[in-house]
């Protein structure tokens, strides 16, 4: 497994599975250590210029010009990879006066507006960190399976260019959409945001271009991928699945009406809306409780504090609790009367499927693949609407018959559609498809297919910008058979 991490000291949140051989970390935000031995040649300058031209030129993402720009961007990335793999010191060059001047010139030519040196330096630094996966030796594998678009795909691109490796890309949420939402919350200058989001947009498009198979986790999210250049003939919607026996149905309900949230404590989960909604619930049902389970990444510590402050300000201390990470999510789901998820962006949330497997009704927001997962196992409401969330929660909490019906529907929907076996079978199908494709092209096939899973960094901007690696497992086809 390759993990894009913030530094070198991150600890594993979960026990490594037996079939995980090794984890290769690529720290993105450690200080640049130099290391490149070669001075830049014209190769880097022209590649970097191509990259800047492709990402800074504004056009309709559905246009033919946009498709050309993605191709040019991919070509430029390859040039940068070649430069770095030949020993070039990419970070030093991008942040040198010459590199920054190149960026300033491209911006002025294309956008026809001024750019301060401070902003140009900020972008040059961010790019030097984010392109770091291109500066490490390309991984050797039979298939590279990236769990996300964006920076993770740089690892896949390097493997493809170096070894001709097939690339599978799963996209849980939509990388680009989440970057767009992240950057709305930052106070970075508009020019920095414009450049970085142009980079992310073009990188995401290049990722779709180079992937041999794209597996969105919900049909709704396909729209963004298609808009950004994904080829529908190489797309298969793949729902996440859970192992039912690991998430047994709950037989009882808690004594007090209890709403449970399970997931990362993150702005994308919009816990403020859930906490605000709970004020209405608590007014109606004074014994009701809201229990929020989930880990807090260092980058989200400030957000967790705002949640705590909100709980205090709304006079909900005691009724609403931040419980931290739990060893067994099953215990958290079983402690719920209803499970709530109020995200503003989602792919196909595992927590939702796990809760449904445990036979819990859900109240959640209409984002990403959530409605596809829920159907009649819960209530879907508009995001950022505390009143709607509260109404739905009260309805489920106070209507025993409805709750029972939803609980049964939830469990049966998971067993029917969202089991781990089905999910693995679907991926196996994709691997086999690529395998056959390889057979047609290559004289000899490997004995085993070793797909390589890539984790993604969830970075935010600025100085405050930091990444967080999600765990992924390396799956050996040979072991599965």
């Amino acid at each position: 497994m390759v993990a894009l991490t913030e530094g070198r000291d991150e600890r594993f949140l979960w026990k490594s599975p037996d079939n995980l051989d090794d984890v290769l970390r690529i720290p993105l935000w450690t200080p640049h250590s130099g290391g490149g031995s070669r001075r830049p040649g014209s190769g880097l300058a022209s590649s970097y210029d191509g990259l800047l031209q492709a990402m800074l030129t504004q056009q309709d993402p559905r246009s033919a010009q946009a498709m050309v720009a993605r191709s040019r961007f991919l070509l430029a990335l390859r040039g940068i990879y070649e430069y770095a793999s030949a020993g070039g010191d990419l970070a030093t060059e991008l942040t040198s006066n010459a590199g920054v001047a190149q960026l300033v010139t491209a911006w002025r030519q294309i956008r026809q507006t001024d750019l301060s040196l401070a902003n140009a330096l900020e972008v040059a630094n961010l790019l030097s960190h984010m392109l770091r996966p291109l500066t490490v030796p390309a991984v050797s594998a039979d298939i590279v399976h990236s769990s996300m678009n964006g920076l993770s795909m740089l690892v896949a691109m390097a493997a493809k260019w170096r070894h001709g490796t097939h690339v599978v890309m799963s996209e849980h949420g939509i990388y680009l959409r989440e970057r767009y939402l992240d950057y709305l919350e930052t106070n970075a200058p508009l020019a920095v945001k414009a450049m970085m989001l142009s980079f992310f947009r073009t990188l995401a498009g290049a990722g779709y271009l180079i992937a041999d198979a794209i597996a969105p986790h919900s049909s709704y999210n396909r729209r963004w991928q298609l808009l950004n250049g994904a080829d529908p003939d190489r797309m298969w919607t793949m729902y996440n699945g859970v192992e039912p026996k690991n998430f047994p149905a709950a037989n009882t309900e808690p004594d007090q009406p209890t709403i449970v949230f399970m997931g990362r404590i993150s702005p994308l989960k919009d816990l403020h809306t859930l906490i605000r909604a709970f004020t209405f619930v608590h007014t109606r049902l004074s014994t009701a409780r809201l229990r929020i389970f989930g880990s807090i990444a260092p980058t989200d510590a400030a957000y967790a504090q705002t949640c705590q402050r909100l709980i205090k300000d709304l006079g909900l201390a005691g009724a609403v609790t931040l419980e931290g990470a739990v060893d067994s999510p099953v215990a958290a789901y079983h402690a719920a009367t209803v499970v709530a998820l109020t995200s503003v962006s989602e792919g196909f949330p595992m927590a939702l499927v796990e809760a449904m497997a445990c036979g819990r009704p859900v109240v959640c927001t209409n984002v990403g693949g959530v409605p596809e997962a829920v159907a009649d196992a819960g209530i879907v409401v508009a995001p950022r609407d505390p009143f709607a969330v509260a109404q739905a929660c009260i309805t489920v909490l106070t209507n025993h018959e409805l709750r029972q019906r939803m609980a049964a529907a939830a469990r049966s929907r998971v067993l029917e559609l969202f089991t781990l076996g089905q999910s693995l079978e679907a991926y196996r199908g994709i691997y086999d498809h690529l395998d056959q494709h390889s057979a047609a092209q290559r004289p000899a096939l490997p004995q085993k297919v070793h797909p390589l899973a890539l984790s993604l960094p969830q970075h935010t901007s600025r100085r405050g910008r930091r990444s967080r690696a999600l765990g992924c497992v390396q799956i050996k086809v040979g072991d599965r058979r």
């Binding site: 040196l117 040059a124 680009l176 142009s198 049909s219 510590a301 931040l322 409605p371 159907a375 879907v380």
Partner: protein, 495 residues
């Protein structure tokens, strides 16, 4: 809302992957729901960089493709976002705010020179109590040890503060201050034994070290005023001794030591009363849990400390070698160093101001070429201010000495060398802030080594020796400027 009303909606949502847009309440005062949407989205759209970002925001607010079609009449969210952006228009960046100058902080920086000069007030008392030989040996030993010890402590403390570990910084300052006293005592005792001077050196070394650590800590916490107030009794004692002579020696000595004790106590108090850790970062965290143990924080800084340590030691050597060479033979030449010591506040002020000004410059220029030209303007203007300020102090000193008939050519040369030394320290601070320790240490090694070696040639001749010091200091300035030429224009180094 009844369950019957919600369930069908949920099914529709599941099937059509949209929300029930018909149920959305119309905004009061808007005939067209699109107008309401535009007004609602205006702040977001002005902060957005393109229509896709507005589309992402619309989706996160619950607007789906179906809502775009049914409620607003557009094909999908992306088309809707296009139109919202067209109606709102482009956003624009706010110019960087101009930072107001903090004159109080700047005056505090300038005042550091007086803090460094303050121990001089007690030297006549030490002279009276311990004798000339013990005073000179004690001052040299204590100044060298204190310079290095306090320099290393301050650097580590600032590093920890920069890493967001103020608790570690406080603990380091506290324990380092306390540990410094026995170390100074042992060193003083060893020197007394080796040189055969009185064990009064021990007292002098401990007192000087206590003062250095107190000042280091109080400057770290920006409590310079407390330092001045704490040391006022010592100053008064020095003045009293100058007028009262041997009769008041015991009282003056006691007052000096009490003043030192007070300064150190006040400084140590700062390390416990200032915030010792960042706010807890996670619910359920224990207070102070974000600051690691001091030993761990120190281990992490060990490697970067080595070049810094070398720089501090060589800087101390370059300053103290000439003092050592002359003070032992002609103690009145020490007066020539007063301008440079008093002017060190100006040097620190300009060095700090340069960093701020260079960062501000990044927001004012639009091309690295412009930056290179203007940053050199900053370097040279800072250098000129340091040289002129210390020159003015030296001119006052020379004038006073001349009028009182105490001016010697050696003092004049030494004071001039001090002026150049101030310029060299200013450039050295810039290089240190840019992390150019290799160049710093190399330059210092060459110049300090050359000057030390010149002693073999000058044969103790004061005039030739001070000329050698002048030459070495001039060479140091030139070497520092050459080192700066390779890095100060790189904009990246000033972020």
């Amino acid at each position: 809302m009844t369950s019957g009303a919600i369930m069908p909606k949920a099914r529709v949502v599941a099937q059509d992957v949209t929300s029930d847009v018909a149920g959305l309440p119309a905004k009061v005062g808007y005939a067209d729901p699109f107008d309401a949407l535009v007004d609602e989205m205006r702040p977001v759209a002005l902060r957005s960089v393109d229509t896709m970002q507005v589309a992402a925001s619309l989706e996160s607010a619950g607007v789906t493709d179906r809502a775009a079609r049914v409620r607003f009449g557009y094909a999908d969210v992306f088309d809707l976002a296009d139109e919202v952006c067209r109606r709102v228009g482009p956003g624009s960046d706010q110019p960087y705010p101009r930072r107001a100058r903090n004159w109080t902080a700047e005056l505090r920086d300038i005042g550091h020179g007086l803090l460094y000069l303050l121990p001089g007030a007690a030297f006549p008392i030490a002279f009276g109590a311990l004798g000339r030989q013990t005073l000179v040996v004690g001052v040299l030993v204590a100044a060298t040890l204190g310079w290095v010890w306090s320099g290393v402590t301050a650097w580590l403390a600032y590093q920890m503060l920069g890493d967001g570990k103020p608790g570690c910084a406080g603990r380091l300052l506290r324990w380092s201050s306390l540990a410094a006293l026995p170390v100074a005592a042992l060193t003083g005792a060893a020197v007394a034994r080796v040189t055969g001077t009185s064990y009064g050196v021990v007292v002098l070394a401990v007192a000087q070290m206590a003062y250095q650590m107190a000042i280091t800590t109080l400057v770290f916490y920006r409590r310079e005023v407390l330092a001045f107030v704490s040391m006022t009794p010592a100053l008064m004692a020095g003045i009293g001794y100058a007028f009262g002579g041997a009769d008041v020696l015991p009282t003056a000595t006691g007052l000096c030591l009490a003043s030192l004790g007070l300064a150190l106590a006040v400084a140590l108090k700062q390390t416990t009363s200032q915030p010792t850790s960042r706010p807890t970062s996670q619910p359920g965290d224990q207070p102070g849990g974000s600051d690691p143990p001091l030993s761990l924080a120190l281990r992490q800084k060990f490697r970067p400390l080595l070049p810094m340590l070398a720089f501090i030691m060589l800087s101390a050597a370059f300053f103290l070698i000439p003092q050592g060479r002359h003070l032992l033979g002609q103690s009145d030449i020490a007066i020539a160093f007063i301008p440079v010591i008093a002017g060190m506040g100006v040097v620190e002020w300009r060095a700090r101001l340069f960093g701020d000004a260079a960062r501000t410059l990044l927001t004012r220029v639009g091309h690295p070429r412009q930056f290179v030209v203007r940053v050199w303007g900053l370097v040279l203007s800072g250098l000129a201010i340091c040289l002129v300020s210390v020159s003015a102090l030296a001119a006052v000193l020379i004038t006073v000495l001349d009028r009182t008939g105490q001016l010697t050519p050696a003092i004049g040369f030494m004071a001039t060398a001090g002026v150049l030394l101030a310029g060299a320290y200013y450039l050295g601070f810039l290089l240190a802030n840019l992390g150019r320790f290799r160049e710093l240490c190399g330059s210092l090694l060459v110049c300090a080594g050359s000057y030390a070696a010149s002693g073999l040639v000058t044969g103790g001749d004061m005039r030739r020796d001070t000329t050698a010091l002048l030459a070495a200091t001039t060479a140091l300035i030139l070497l520092y400027l050459a080192a700066l030429a390779g890095c100060v224009g790189q904009a990246q180094r000033h972020r």
